[in-house]
């Protein structure tokens, strides 16, 4: 039935402003809590390893003196709380510890290889969004009202199939076709622009398929809404109905999905980097896990985790900005 307006007159402005800041505050505190949890979880990682992590990393043949030296260097002898605080403090200063295996400073490794990974993931993200969103909207416009059923079926099936294939399989297929058989692009390694093509394609193909399907469905849902019918009732030209009435309402779900995409891309880079021998954090992660270099694993986990959390946070903020209702309906 009727709902009272949120507030009247002067009260309204206070409430509206208040809602926005409250939302911002809630989201920021949620981010901070999540970051703390992330750090805590990664901190405990080393301590959860069965047996002695340093010994496991250095192997059974390593001399005890080396093991002890490394333990001391990592501060594993100190009480837990002290270790935790040191850990946090170091992280805040950008010190990610030292590698168990090589003794290098992890921070250097990250500085060295991080940009490659984020360049790859970042470009793939942009490509995915820039291709999938217009494609999805176009498909929604073309297939609304059950028009062009064959197109709908073809698109859904194809996109579904492509989306189901994981990035590493796509990468293998692409490498085979374009690098081995046709020699258009280099098989592996980071180099000039052409070396970026295959990795980006493998990373983004699956997400493009999945995202465009979702955007199409959301677009259709919006086109079914009553307010689109109202717009048609006002006899507005089609262009205005799509761009002014339908599009803004598809932004919200699209943004949410884009946020989820970041997580998927981060995971995808780990796999794709391995295939293309890309000098990034993904390969670092895999090799550190294999070598039991726990400090490096810890650090990379923190980095990746933080990126995911920040991406979600950015999406939340953007959502709050463009859709005023979400700040009020917020849990």
């Amino acid at each position: 039935m009727t709902a009272a307006p949120l507030s009247l007159g002067r009260q309204r402005n206070w409430w509206a402003v208040h809602a926005r800041t409250a939302y911002l505050f809630r989201r920021t505190s949620r981010l901070l809590v999540s970051l703390v949890l992330l750090l805590t979880a990664t901190f405990f990682m080393i301590h959860l390893v069965p047996g002695d992590p340093v010994r496991a990393a250095l192997g059974t043949t390593a001399p005890q003196s080396l093991v002890d030296a490394r333990r001391a260097a990592l501060g594993l002898d100190k009480p837990l709380v002290t270790q935790y605080l040191d850990y946090i403090r170091n992280l805040l200063h950008g010190n990610f510890g030292t590698s168990l295996i090589s003794g290098e400073r992890v921070t250097d490794v990250i500085k060295d290889r991080g940009p490659s990974t984020f360049r790859l993931a970042g470009i793939a993200f942009l490509v995915a969004i820039l291709v999938a969103v217009p494609l999805g909207i176009l498909m929604a416009a073309l297939t609304r009202d059950s028009k062009r059923r064959p197109l709908e079926l073809g698109f859904t099936a194809t996109a579904g199939a492509i989306a189901a294939v994981p990035s590493f399989l796509t990468a293998v297929a692409l490498v085979y076709v374009f690098a081995v058989k046709i020699h258009w692009f280099p098989v592996a390694g980071q180099g000039g622009v052409s070396s970026y093509v295959l990795p980006i394609a493998s990373l983004s193909l699956g997400p493009i398929a999945a995202l465009s399907r979702i955007v199409r469905v959301e677009g259709l849902r919006v086109l079914e809404q009553d307010y689109v019918r109202t717009a048609r009732g006002k006899r507005l030209p089609a262009r205005i109905i799509y761009l002014r009435h339908a599009l803004p309402n598809t932004l919200t779900p699209t943004l949410t999905i884009a946020g989820l995409l970041v997580g998927g891309l981060v995971a995808g880079t780990v796999l794709v980097e391995n295939i293309f021998a890309w000098p990034g954090l993904g390969t670092t992660l895999v090799s550190s896990v294999a070598q039991k270099d726990y400090s490096t694993v810890q650090a990379v986990a923190v980095i990746f985790g933080a990126v995911v959390l920040l991406a979600n946070f950015a999406v939340d903020i953007a959502l709050g900005a463009i859709d005023p209702r979400s700040t009020i309906l917020d849990v």
Binding site: A4, M45, R229, T230, A267, V289, K292, G305
Partner: protein, 647 residues
């Protein structure tokens, strides 16, 4: 699961997609169980003479570094790959589902904490979590399985939480609790059956995801370690030789893809079976502007003439705001929700259309307003709106005609306004498009109209969004939108149904004032006879897509002729209803748009029905200059329907 559920699943499995999915699943299961028994010898036979070869007649997919046949290895690896995936999914489910159910059962701050934790966990990509966990536990098959299980658990938890909270909040659970049903039985008989299906389906799909993730882990070298081998491990080995013998990688890659796809597809088939409810989209009111191509001028029905054309005394044909004859709306699939409706509206007249749900009243109005769904087929022997036949006009001509002279008010004010646009913008754009106003001029007009519909402080209101308006205000904004041009006809479809009764009167009054002040005709559609009788001079009663009676309000009050109208009036309690007598009720159900029985559609439920009624459709006969009824046995004036209708 009961009979119906089972039959639905079997039906879904019979579709082409279903057959493919089931066949695939069967194949996977058979291979997983049987392949090692049959081929493990072949798969582990080392042949140092033929190491690292490509595809050949003897070895279809080549051999690996120890000369073992890859094709057989792929088949045998099915067991490990599938088994590990199922195990990971099972563990993930076993952990995740109970955790997700906690907020629904416990509630309060603990529940919220768990919810927050689940939301947080879901944000992290599964593979990373799995790698992280595997690094702690140690690489190898069990590290991988536990890692994947931990990574998948949040998704199960999220699903379980959504499902259990929807069940926990459901009214049937509340009713069961009120009845005193014991908690165990609540769980087994009420909660579980309702969450089992979606959980099962998700589990099936997630096995596919687990398969992919495990393959990924093994591919990275972090999963299954030699001498064990699964598809992912084999892909890893095959990748190094991709330049020389690509088919070596092909085998495992295809196996992974097909394996995952099979589970995903099967899950989707199950989901379709569960979700199938026959949602007919046109019933949900999907509306769009009908193109000239899909609106075909057609010949009307073959009913005998002599009733439609007779019409009512009134203004000459060309003065009428609306003249429609033999209007029929049909949909592919055989539904005909509007049959043979004829209507005339003079300038300034307020006409009401009354009917229950399924009577076709809304679609009639939408047909007049040219807002039918694209799938609808409209036919009418005559359709004359503002002196022109919209079907004969081009799209832009029609748009101009209707945009300037027709206003539509919808039932649900909450959804009729676009939540992403400011109210002033939405209201004003009519002027921008149809009157060539600039943005500022349009906004100014919008503010004027908002003021005209009694919305306080219209300047600031125009800058607000719809969610900041109350229901009554939103409806007034919708009316203001219609007033931007100078409408000659206002079509109001249940404009007050969603509003409180005190607000209802305000809106009705507004509609009346607007109609009077602009000499605009109006069509008011409602299921509420009283509301319609207050505002309208003439009332049209619809039943099963047809007009059964057309009368003025006085006759409506004194004594309608059609038994349905009489029953409709008598069924609603009024402030003057006799509390000692039962209300009139109409047994049975109204016919659906698919039914096309000979005879009067109301006959099965009518207390006065005779064989004639059931055999032949009564024509709409003129009983007085302002009264038409379609009935073989009309009620005599002043008769009491309650006497006749069984309770």
């Amino acid at each position: 699961m009961n009979q119906r559920g089972l039959s639905r699943i079997l039906q879904a499995l019979r579709t082409p997609v279903g057959i493919v999915a089931s066949a695939g699943l069967l194949l996977v299961i058979v291979l997983a169980i049987a392949a090692p028994f049959i081929w493990s010898g072949d798969a582990s036979r080392i042949d140092i003479l033929h190491t690292s070869q490509g595809a050949s007649h003897a070895h279809w997919l080549g051999t690996d570094a120890l000369g073992r046949d890859i094709f057989y290895r792929v088949l045998v690896a099915t067991r490990l790959s599938v088994f590990l995936a199922v195990l990971a999914a099972a563990i993930g489910a076993a952990v995740g589902i109970p955790i997700g159910a906690v907020p629904a059962i416990v509630g309060g701050p603990v529940g919220r904490l768990v919810t927050g934790f689940i939301n947080l966990a879901v944000a992290f990509p599964a593979l990373l979590v799995a790698i992280f966990v595997a690094s702690i536990i140690g690489v190898g098959a069990h590290g991988a399985v536990i890692g994947i299980a931990v990574a998948i658990a949040p998704y199960y938890a999220r699903l379980s939480q959504t499902l259990s909270s929807s069940v926990a909040g459901s009214e049937y659970l509340a009713a069961a609790r009120m009845l005193g049903v014991k908690r165990v039985r609540l769980l087994t008989r009420h909660v579980l059956p309702n969450i089992a299906e979606p959980l099962l389906i998700t589990s099936t799909i997630s096995i596919g995801d687990a398969l992919l993730s495990l393959a990924g882990l093994s591919f990275l070298g972090l999963g299954v370690q030699p001498p064990q081998y699964d598809w992912g491990r084999m892909l890893n080995e095959g990748l190094n030789r991709i330049y020389v013998n690509p088919e070596v990688a092909l085998g495992p890659a295809v196996a992974i893809t097909l394996g995952a796809l099979t589970f995903a597809l099967f899950g989707e088939v199950l989901a379709k079976a569960a979700g199938a409810g026959g949602a007919r989209r046109w019933l949900r009111g999907e509306l769009a502007e009908a193109d000239a191509a899909s609106v075909r001028a057609g010949v009307g029905s073959t009913e005998p003439a002599g009733r439609a054309g007779a019409g009512l005394a009134g203004a000459g044909a060309t003065d009428l705001v609306l003249a429609v004859e033999n209007l029929t709306v049909s949909f592919p699939g055989g539904a005909v929700p509007v049959r043979d409706v004829s209507l005339r509206i003079e300038p300034g007249e307020i006409v009401g259309i009354v009917g229950e749900s399924g009577s076709g009243k809304t679609l009639t109005a939408m047909a007049i307003a040219d807002l039918l769904p694209a799938a609808a087929h409209l036919s009418a022997s005559r359709l004359c709106l503002f002196g022109e036949d919209p079907r004969a006009l081009s799209t832009s001509q029609r748009r101009r005609l209707l945009g300037r002279s027709l206003a539509v008010v919808y039932q649900d004010p909450m959804s009729a306004l676009n939540p992403a646009l400011r109210v002033g913008r939405q209201v004003g754009e009519v002027a921008e498009v149809h009157q060539g106003s600039s943005k500022r001029e349009a906004l100014g007009s919008a503010v004027d109209r908002l003021r005209a519909v009694h919305i306080g402080s219209p300047e600031s209101r125009a800058r607000q969004y719809p969610h900041e308006f109350s229901g009554g205000m939103r409806q007034r904004a919708v009316i203001a939108m219609g007033l931007m041009a100078e409408p000659k006809l206002i079509v109001a479809d249940e404009p007050t149904t969603a509003l409180d009764v005190t607000v209802q009167q305000q809106i009705l009054r507004l509609l009346r004032d607007v109609s009077v002040s602009r000499s605009a005709a109006a069509i008011l559609i409602s299921h509420d006879v009283a509301v319609v009788s207050q505002l309208c001079s003439r009332v049209v009663v619809m039943y099963a897509g047809r007009v059964v009676e057309e009368l003025d309000v006085g006759t409506l009050v004194d004594g309608p002729a059609h038994p349905y109208t009489a029953a409709l009036v008598a069924a609603v309690p009024t402030m003057a209803s006799d509390r000692e007598r039962p209300l009139a009720s109409i047994p049975g159900r109204a016919p659906t748009p698919f039914d096309d029985l000979p005879g009067c559609p109301f006959a099965p439920r009518c207390p006065r029905a005779s064989d004639l009624c059931r055999a032949q459709m009564p024509p709409l006969e003129q009983r007085s200059p302002t009264h038409r009824a379609a009935c073989w046995h009309p009620m005599p004036a002043g008769a009491d329907i309650v006497e006749e209708v069984a309770v």
